[in-house]
Each structure stands twice: as C-alpha cells, then as structure tokens.
C-alpha cells in the first residue's frame, strides 16, 4: 500500500515498535485466567501487551478460544510503574494506618520479621503465626515458611466465600466445571447467580455463540443485570428466593412426568429408603450389627423387595429402584419400620412449591415458571453460576435446588450440560517439589510412585473407594499433616480471636430454625472433634501474634469489616507483614511492606484452570525494579532469616500443639533441594518438567518448550488441586465436561450415600428442616427494619482491589466507589445521579456515589466489590456494612462428605442481601 508520509506518521509508527517480545499472562486470582499475551519491551521497559490469540481449535464444530484477554490485562503493564508500586522493603515509622514508612534493607526487615515469628512461637506457640491465603498464584511463593514450619494458613475460601456449599452437599466434590468451549454446546443456558458480562469477559462469547447456534439464554437475577441484555429472557427473581423458583420448576417437571427417571434412579439418592420413624436413611447397621453404617437400601419397583444399593457402582444390577411406595423393613431388634424413597418425601415437600405458591415467594409469574421448566426438561441445559449463591445465608439451599433441577432433567455428565464455578489444578510440580528430596525427574518419578502407592493403600479397608474419594480423603488429612501451608478453616479463629462471637450469637441475624445458640453449635462441633482440635479448639487459647499477607488485602475483603479487625485483632498482633507489588489498605496498616515483583518481572503461570485446561506461561520480560524480588526469592529469604535468627537465639526446634517437633534448621536446604532450586528459573523449569512426569503436561515439556509456544494443553489432572474432582478424562480433541465417570462409567459419587445426594440426614439438618432442598428467607442481617437489600459481585474493571487504582481503568467508570439505586427509589429518597450517599447497616456505614438506573430492582442496591477502602471517605467500604454472619449448618460435620478439606466444606460468611438504609450525605 502507498506509504503514508510525514514525520507525524513516523512518530505514530515509532510508538508501535519494540525490541523484544516475551510471553506474558497475569498470575492473579482472575478466573478462569489462562489468557496468553505477548509482552512488548523497548529500551528495557515493558511498553504494552496484546493478546496472543494463539490457541488452536479443540473440538470440530466448536469455536476456538481466541483472543482471550480483557481490558485489565490490556493495561496491566501500567501497574509496573504505577504510583502505588513498591520497590523497597518498607518499615512502619508512624502509627499503624498512618502510612508513614521508611525504606530499609531486606536484612533489617527480615531479621525483625523472623524475630517476631520466633517470639510468637515462644509466647503463644506456632499456631499464633497466621498466614492469609489468596488464590493469586504468583503470591504463593512468599508464604513457603508456613509450609516449612507447619504454621496455619487460614483457608481463603472461608474469607472470600468462594465455595458452593449446596453443590458440595450434593456431589461431595469441589466444583466440577466444564471447559469454557463446552458452553457452546448448551441448548439452554441459565445465567444464574452470575454476571459473566463483567466477570468472564474472555469467554462470555461462548454464551453468545451458543445462542447463535440455536440455543436459548435465560438470565435469572433480581436486577436487569448486564448479563441479561443478551439473553432471550430475564427472570427478575426476588432477592434470595431462587430456591423457591427452582423447586417450583422441579415440581412442574415431576407433575408433567417430564423427569428423567433413569437418570434419577441411577445417579441420585432419590430412590434410597428413609425410615419414616426417624427421618434417617435406612442403614446397614439398622439391620445387622456387622453391616456398614454407610450401606443404604432401595426397593425394587417390581415386587417391592428391599435390597442394598450397591456401593461400588451406580448400575442398578437388575433392580428397577422404586421412587414411590412405602415398604416394611424388620430391624435387627425385631421391630418393623416403614420406609419410603427420598423421591416420595421430595414430592410431599414440593407440594409447598407449586408454581402459584412459589410465585408468591419469588415474584416470578407461574406461567414463566412452567414455561422455563418445560425448556429445562427438554434441552441440554447448563446453569452458568458463579460464586454468588454461596454468599447468601441460605445459598446452600439455593444450590441444592438448582442441582435438583439438573438431576430431574438428566442435565449433567454430558456435553453442553452441568454447572460452572471455579476449579483449578495441575500445580503438582510446585506443590511436591520439597518432597522429592533431590533434583531431577527420576526423583519426581519415585516420589510419584510413592504417592500413588499411598493412595492405593487407602483402598485396603474399602476396595470400592474411587479415585475421587481417595483424593478427598488425602485432602482431608492436610490440616493435620501440614503441607500446602497447613490450611485451617478460620471460623474458630475468627470466633474466639477476631471478635465474631458476639455477632454470630445475635439471634436476630440468624435463621429462626436455628434452635440453639450459636455458641452451643460451636461447642458441639469442637467437642465432637468435627474440625480437629488443631483447627478448632486451639484458638480458644491461642492469640494471634504474627499476621502474614502475600497478595491479599484483608482489610478490604474480610466480611465483618475493618472495625472488628482493627479493634479486636490488630492489638494482639506484634507483627503484620504485607508482601505485595503495591501499597494497599492492609499494607498501610502493616508493620512491614515487602516489595514483590510484578507479572512480566518474574516467572509464573496464569490460573491453571479447568475452564481452559492450559498451562499458560508468563515470562520475565524485565527484571524487578529497585529491590523488589519475586515471591520465590522472598520466600527463600524469609526461610534464611528464620534460620539465621533462630541460630543467633539458640533455638533449634519447637513443638507445635499437635505434638510435632519441627526443626528451625535446614529449612532452605529442604525447600531448595539443597540449593539446586534456589534460582527462580531453575525452580520453574523443574516444576514444569515434573508436571510432565506427573502426566499433567505432555512428555518433554519444559520452560524452553513453553517459551516457544506460550502455552500447552493439559494431558491429565495430577493430584494437587481440583482436577480429579472433575470426574472425567481429558481428551485431546474434545471439550471437557465433568462427571462423566459417573454418568458413563457408573462410578459412585464421593458423597456419604455415593450418589448425588439430595437428602442430608445429618442430625443438625433434620433439626433445621433442611434434610431436603427447601426455601428459607434470608435473615435480616444488617438490620430488620432497614429498607434496602444490598447485593454485590465482582466489578468489571479490576481483579478484586488489585488493579482498582489503575488510572486508565478508573477513567472507564465513575472513578470512585459507587452504588446502583433504582430510579424510583432515588426519587423517593430525593437522591440525584452522581451525588454521594451513605449506606448504613447495624454494623457500620460507607459513603459512595449514587448511580441511578431502572435496571436495579426497587428495594435493591448494588455495590460491586473491589474498591480499596482508602478510596472511600473515612476508608470504610462495603465490607464494613456487612455483619459477616455464617450459617450455623456450616459447622456440621462428622458425616460422610461433610468433613473439612482445604477450600471446601466449612463455615463461610454471608454477605449478600444485607439490610441497609440509603441516606443523603449532608
């Protein structure tokens, strides 16, 4: 083409030149992440990045994944020299929160930090060193001391409630999810408790494209959400009533005979028999002393004979399990009891949820309920769900009701069906590095064999145990064994030490069916050892002394608010450390802030997520500025400091509350395989090569091969993470859909009853009337008489608060925290668009700018989260008006799959539908 001439043209051309291109991505807690970018460097400085768009198609007839990325990624490089960037270790010199710091050397900082840790061990025990978790992959390396010392890491999933309790109750699994290209194959997509237009920018297109492919899209949300605009239907369900809506669809489907009987019989507990006298499942040890407590029964609809439901398979073996009828069974004591299938009990329960009755609860027209039910029953249906439902007080009931809808319609375990959420895996190479003992892939191979053998041994007492069940079992051992930071469910720590005891015992804020005081449930859970003494009882006595944060921002995210933390927790702490590339609100309240390398300044990978099934490299394009270091290096430096200070103080080891003696020597040697993995590049290469040995990546994968192509697709799940929870085999030329080991191979589920479980006969659930999915109103947390309910979700412009302060991104919205208010509500409150308002609940208040829209439901206010507290006047943000309540049933355990595993079943706080008032700011 003809040359465009002129100096002006050349100056534009000059802007688009570079001297180096590297692979980049963002190793942040973005989901699913996995976007391959090219990072362009000129004169030793990263100038910009652009999506690589290099994914090859997977399945014939399904669109490719390109060009994954978003606006945040498109200006990430600006954060490398942003005003909040930290490049030197900072020591606090003013009061906590004032923000007065002075730069110090790494040695000064780390000696002080190590001394505080050693003091804490002497004073309160090693349990008083609290490490906070964040799923930001890049940040994990700095926390390696907690692994080495076995000190607790509080389970992040409790802090940010990224958990689907109802799906856990149903499947016993951590979030089975399909790969994102599978969404194209859905015939009906229900966007429900999710806002993918904001939160799944890089793959929302599959939803739009499934619609163009002949599918329909229905968005179910209280507001006319941005994710409703491209739907065929919007269902404006009243806040917190989704269970009623879903159960009414279930009722419609059963009454119309549209349910998939074979699927229900085979995959679910609905045919299992329940004793009418106790409401408990009929169990093997009801019938004979030597039979199993976890043997369950069904009746053959041909003849009514009651037989044990096989534990080793879902296949019915010649029985056609009855879904209805009442049967007599003689117990071991000679008494006879009546039993009936769960399905029959469910039908009675659903009498409360006819479309007409449910409509009065959820405010959805009965005809709409019937029409949608019919669609679900006749189409390959997916529920596009996020982690919104689990953040409701009764989110478990909502999710169980949604799972029931899919069960009745046979909508999981085949392409184009199921639910979505968050699941990641494939980090075995990093997680198991220290366990190898020596460098090299032979060592990896041997360690892998040892782990495989250990798993095999776990079938000795029960040969019917599946891989999923073994994986869960191993995971449940983590809090006791340590490893991966010895994760603990933090509810007990919060309860006794962070000041939540008073709040959680406020009856007003709990469900009326909570029969006893919260305290009684906590004590019972501890006394019965449901969460292990280490996790639960310890914090009756142990006061936290050291708080270590890497990549997180506790003072923004902790539901319940800063006031509680600063009043109750902060005074107990002798040392607060924030490792980050930037100064955030928690950093401002820390004693030391340690400067971390940014992405593009260190080696890493984007979120290794099941949604895209790729290992995506983010390479070091430039070195970190000043004295910033990669978290890998920071982690090792901390270990060195602990060894150094322990030696100087004559401390060689300590004994923790579990009675384990742990050395304060040789920590670096173990973590680095005697120095061989000291170098970040060597460590990363080794982890990738080991992943190839573990079958997660193709044979021969190394850092060098990744640098050629930028990514590589997984070949297997590995053992760390949530891979095996997917219960499907990865195929090279197919989209991934989970649970196919169950639907196709008939392997049992990882629940107590070994089927998708809708009936939970745990005594607390029976007491609460929640043995079956039902609807309950959200308790009036925040204040019974307050006019509005606040809902929330991730915003469009940042990954939590991480890049919220990016100037360009701030310019793409209001540039300050805001709240959506319905237009008519605004009129009644005399509030105009753009003015500042105060949101007030019983526990606090926050000031935001009002944004007025008819898309917001009357009576609803929407505050998208992620704003830094220091962006609000007085620094009180959204979390400060959330009481941070947890539903007491989260403490229920000692029941099959209701047991604590990291990132899994545990008490999680509710922050949705908090009652607030909206006030004008004078």
């Amino acid at each position: 083409m003809a040359q465009i001439k002129g100096q002006w043209a050349d100056s534009y051309r000059q802007k688009w030149t570079w001297d180096r291109v590297t692979w980049g991505s963002h190793s942040v807690d973005c989901y699913p992440g996995g976007c391959p970018w090219r990072v362009y460097t000129k004169d030793g400085k990263v100038i910009r990045e652009e999506q690589a768009g290099v994914f090859t198609p997977i399945e014939a007839g399904v669109p490719d994944m390109n060009p994954m990325g978003c606006q945040k990624g498109a200006c990430w490089s600006e954060l490398l020299d942003a005003p909040d960037r930290i490049t030197e270790p900072l020591k606090r010199v003013g009061k906590r929160g004032e923000g007065k710091f002075e730069p110090v050397s790494w040695d000064v900082a780390l000696n002080d930090i190590a001394d505080a840790m050693l003091d804490a061990i002497k004073d309160q025990g090693s349990e008083s060193i609290i490490t906070l978790m964040t799923p930001e992959f890049a940040a994990a390396g700095a926390r390696s001391f907690s692994d080495a010392l076995g000190t607790p890491t509080t389970d992040g999933n409790a802090e940010f409630q990224d958990f689907s309790p109802g799906f856990h109750l149903t499947f016993g699994l951590y979030n089975p999810v399909a790969s994102m290209d599978d969404w194209f194959l859905a015939e009906l997509t229900l966007i429900w408790h999710a806002n993918p237009v904001y939160t799944n920018i890089h793959w929302y297109h599959y939803v739009a494209e499934s619609r163009y492919n002949g599918g329909e899209v229905v968005t179910i949300s209280p507001d006319y959400s941005p994710s409703a605009i491209h739907a065929d239907y919007h269902v404006p369900v009243r806040i917190g009533t989704d269970a009623a809506f879903s159960l009414a669809m279930c009722k419609t489907i059963i009454d119309a005979g549209l349910y998939n009987k074979k699927f229900v019989q085979e995959q679910t507990d609905l045919p299992l028999l329940v004793r009418k006298d106790s409401g408990r499942f009929l169990r093997g040890n009801d019938l004979a002393d030597d039979d199993r407590e976890d043997q369950f029964f069904w009746a053959d609809e041909n003849g009514g004979v009651v037989t044990p439901a096989p534990r080793h398979t879902l296949a019915a073996a010649g029985v056609s399990p009855a879904l209805e009828g009442t049967y007599q069974v003689m117990l071991k004591d000679g008494n006879t009891v009546e039993v009936e299938p769960v399905f029959q009990r469910l039908q009675r329960q659903l009498e409360n949820f006819t479309p007409e009755k449910a409509s009065k609860i959820c405010e959805v027209h009965p005809d709409n309920i019937r029409e949608l039910a019919r669609k679900v029953a006749t189409r390959k249906t997916k529920i596009f769900i996020g982690w919104n439902s689990g953040k409701y007080y009764h989110g478990d009931l909502m999710e169980r009701s949604m799972a029931l809808l899919l069960a009745l319609t046979g909508n999981w375990g085949k392409k184009g069906t199921g639910t979505r959420s968050w699941a990641a895996g494939g980090w075995d190479g990093m997680a198991f590095m220290a366990d190898k003992g020596m460098p090299g892939q032979d060592a990896a191979r041997m360690a892998h064999q040892a782990r495989t053998l250990m798993r095999r041994l776990m079938t000795m007492d029960d040969p019917t145990r599946t891989l999923e069940q073994i994986t869960n079992h191993v995971s449940a051992m983590n809090p006791e064994l340590g490893g991966f930071g010895a994760m603990i469910p933090p509810a007990f720590l919060w309860y006794y030490q962070y000041g939540y005891k008073e709040r959680w015992n406020n009856r007003e804020n709990n469900d009326p069916s909570m029969k006893r005081s919260f305290d009684e449930y906590v004590n019972e859970a501890i006394d019965k050892g449901w969460f292990g003494s280490y996790c639960s009882e310890a914090y009756r006595d142990v006061e936290p002394r050291v708080l270590f944060e890497s990549g997180g921002n506790m003072l923004r995210r902790q539901r319940g608010g800063q006031k509680l933390l600063l009043d109750k927790l902060w005074p107990k702490l002798k040392m607060i450390v924030s490792v980050d590339f930037r100064l955030n609100t928690t950093g401002m309240y820390s004693d030391y802030v340690l400067p971390a390398a940014q992405h593009y300044e260190k080696l890493g990978q984007s979120m290794p997520s099941v949604h895209h099934l790729n290992w995506v490299l983010t390479d070091r394009a430039v070195p970190p500025p000043g004295n910033a270091l990669s978290e890998h290096d920071i982690g090792i430096k901390i270990l060195e400091a602990i060894e150094r200070r322990a030696a100087a103080r004559g401390m060689t080891d300590f004994t923790d509350r579990k009675g384990m003696t742990r050395a304060l020597t040789g920590l670096v040697a173990k973590a680095t395989l005697n120095g061989a993995m000291r170098d970040e590049e060597k460590f990363y290469d080794e982890a990738v090569r080991d992943n190839a040995v573990y079958g997660i990546l193709p044979e021969g994968t190394s850092l060098a091969t990744l640098r050629e192509k930028g990514y590589v697709r997984w070949t297997g799940w590995g053992m760390a993470g949530h891979g095996e929870s997917q219960a499907s085999t990865i195929k090279a030329d197919e989209v991934h859909n989970p649970l196919r080991w169950h639907t196709e191979d008939k392997l049992p589920y990882a629940t107590l009853v070994r089927r998708a479980q809708f009936y939970i006969d745990h005594e607390w659930f029976l007491e609460a009337g929640e043995e079956l999915p039902t609807h309950k109103e959200t308790p009036p947390h925040g204040g019974r008489n307050r006019r509005f309910q606040m809902t929330s979700g991730h915003n469009r412009w940042s990954i939590h608060s991480m890049n919220m302060t990016n100037r360009n991104l701030l310019n793409t919205h209001r540039g300050e925290p805001f709240v959506f208010i319905n237009d008519k509500d605004a009129v009644s409150l005399d509030i105009i668009n753009g003015e500042h308002v105060k949101l007030v609940s019983d526990v606090g208040e926050t000031i935001l700018q009002a944004k007025i829209t008819p898309a917001c439901r009357p009576g609803q206010v929407i505050v998208y989260n992620g704003f830094e507290p220091f962006m609000h006047k007085n620094w009180y943000g959204q979390a400060d008006i959330e009481p941070g309540h947890v539903k007491w049933l989260g403490l229920a355990a000692g029941y099959g799959h209701l047991t604590y595993r990291p990132t899994s079943w545990q008490p999680i706080p509710a922050d949705r539908a908090v009652r607030v008032d909206v006030q004008k700011v004078a």
Partner: protein, 345 residues
C-alpha cells in the same frame, strides 16, 4: 476547505452489538497504544464504548450538530467542551499513600471533568423495572466516505488514504483550527492543547501497513468486532454489510457515509403487566433503534430473528455461522498477521 478525493478501496469495521459486552478492552487497547501518557491526551479515548440509551461521550454528542444536511451541505456544529467530553482524571495517589495522613485523606480526583466521564452512564439505560433495557455501543472514527471533518478543515490537513479509505490527519498541516471538531457529527475528534493539534483515531495504520488488524478489533475478547475491505467478497464485513444487510451505519442521516457498521441489538422478551413473558414484544423500542440506525434496522433485525430461528429449528444459517466466528482470525479480514512475528530492524 478540503476536498474529498475518494479512495480506491474502503476499510470498514463491523461490531456485533449482540456480542459486545461493554468491557472496554478495545478502548483500553487503543488508549494504551496510541495516546498513551502523552501530554494533552488525558481526555482522549479514540475508541469508546457507551451504554445506550445514554448521553454517551462527549455528553449528549448526538445533539451537537455537524455532518451534511439533506442537500449535502456541510453543517458546522459545535465543539464539545472539556467538561462534556469528561474524564481526564488524575488522582491524589501521593497524598493518600505517602503523606502519612492516614484516614484524613482518601483517593479522589484532582484533575479532569467534575461531572462526566467517557463511560459515566455505564449500565444505566432506560425503561422501567422490570422492563429496563440497554446495550453497548462501541464507537471510533467512522472513517467516512464523505468526511465532514475533511471538508471543513481550513488547512487541508485531513485526507482520505487512497488504499484504505482511512481518514487521516497530517499533523504537520493541522493548525488546531478545530473546524473538524465542529463538523464531525460523531464528535470523535479531540483537541490536544499541549500540541495545538486535533487528534482522532488513526485506523491503526502502522499496523495495517504490516498486515496486522487494528487493536480494537484484534483485541476484542467478545469476538464482536470485524474488520475488512468493503469490496472484499470474502470478508465477513462485506457479507454483513452488503450481502446479508444485517450491519448498519450509525446515524446515516448525518450524511457522511460512515464506514463503521453495527449488527443491531436484540433484547430479552419484556414482561406483561402481570409479570408473564411477552414473547412477541420488543424490550428495546424499535423507534429508538430506528433513531440510531435508520429505518433499515427493522429489516436487519428481521433477518437476524429469522436466521436465529433457522438454527433453532436445526437448519443451517450462514449468517449465524459468520457471527459465531468459529475461527477468530476470520474476523480480521486480510489483516491476520500476528504482530509478535514482526522483527524491527
């Protein structure tokens, strides 16, 4: 006054408003690449996405005039004020993070518009709950076939590039007269006070010269953006615009013959008064869409609906298959080169 010399070929953009999710990746990609941190460009977003209905950016731009009247006579409208363009914000980072004043100060704007931003009315829309409605509208320079800016320029600085039809500005000739800003009916031209030149989208010509698609298209994660020569029968843009007539220009009545086209938005079924679905109803008032895209919008929506219906009945649809975009590179027309392959000497 400049004279329009028609180009040999015309590069055109198409945006599928049923896939656009308002994420601003196009806006940010453009901002980072071109204006960047250059002094005087603080308010410049050559690419913007706004929620419609809405006042957009600059605020109420549609009523500022410009373009051609029914007799093809050039109209000089008015220039948007800095306040109307909005944004250009910088913040008191230093004061909050380094002054040691703790909670006495919080992060707030210290420069720029007090009352507007490039995406100020994001996700507000119109209607009345539960029948609210809105959609996203990405906008850049329309690289018009009859560019009013070109004709209005007293310094002959604006020209239509012969090979691509891009409307470019010779910044050495530009004297900052800003007649172009008055004449452009889309108000997509900005003024750089520091350099005393106006600036607008350059169509990513340095990329196009190298066979690489414009950043706004290549970086669109919604796969809603297409680029290609209008006369390239193989390009999706050509098919959408000329063959299937499902992509339409914005405000054709402005008379400049814009070369950015839009697949108009469908919307969810509205609800009747009693809350039941009104499957035959249209949530976005057709009149409103006609105001934006002209009367052809009804035909375009009919085609979309009937092609969707074909797919739902299990039949083939070339229109839907093109919009699905099985292979992303097909959106890029002839501009499929991977920029990372380029090695600058």
């Amino acid at each position: 006054m400049g004279t329009v010399v028609p180009s040999k070929r015309q590069l055109a953009w198409a945006f599928d408003l049923n896939k656009c999710i308002g994420c601003q990746t196009c806006s940010v990609a453009c901002k980072v690449l071109w204006p960047g941190d250059d002094p005087g460009t603080e308010q410049m977003w050559w690419m913007t996405v706004n929620t419609q209905p809405g006042r957009g950016t600059p605020r109420d731009w549609e009523s500022m005039g410009g373009g051609y009247d029914a007799d093809d006579k050039l109209q000089l409208g008015r220039i948007a004020t800095e306040e109307e363009i909005g944004g250009g914000w910088n913040f008191n980072y230093d004061e909050v993070l380094h002054s040691g004043r703790g909670r006495d100060v919080h992060l707030e704007k210290v420069s720029g518009s007090k009352s507007w931003g490039m995406n100020w009315d994001e996700d507000e829309g119109a209607g009345s709950f539960p029948n609210a409605y809105f959609f996203y509208l990405p906008r850049l320079c329309n690289h018009c076939t009859q560019p009013a800016c070109l004709e209005a320029c007293p310094n002959d600085a604006i020209f239509k590039h012969a090979d691509t039809g891009l409307v470019l500005r010779d910044e050495e000739k530009c004297k900052g007269a800003q007649m172009c800003r008055r004449a452009c009916p889309y108000k997509k031209i900005y003024f750089n006070k520091m350099r005393n030149v106006s600036q607008h989208c350059i169509g990513c010509f340095p990329r196009i010269e190298q066979g690489v698609a414009p950043a706004c298209v290549r970086q669109c994660p919604g796969r809603a953006a297409f680029v290609g020569f209008l006369d390239d029968a193989g390009s999706i843009v050509h098919k959408l615009v000329s063959k299937w007539k499902v992509a339409l220009p914005l405000h054709p009545e402005f008379g400049t013959h814009p070369n950015v086209y839009y697949v108009p938005p469908l919307s969810p079924a509205p609800l009747h008064e009693d809350g039941s679905f009104n499957a035959a109803g249209q949530r976005i008032p057709p009149d409103y869409l006609e105001k934006l895209f002209g009367s052809d919008v009804h035909g375009a929506l009919d085609v979309l609906r009937s092609e969707l219906d074909k797919k739902r009945r299990g039949q083939d649809s070339d229109v839907m298959d093109a919009l699905i975009l099985y292979r992303w590179k097909d959106a890029l027309g002839h501009l499929t080169r991977d920029p990372a392959e380029i090695v600058w000497k």
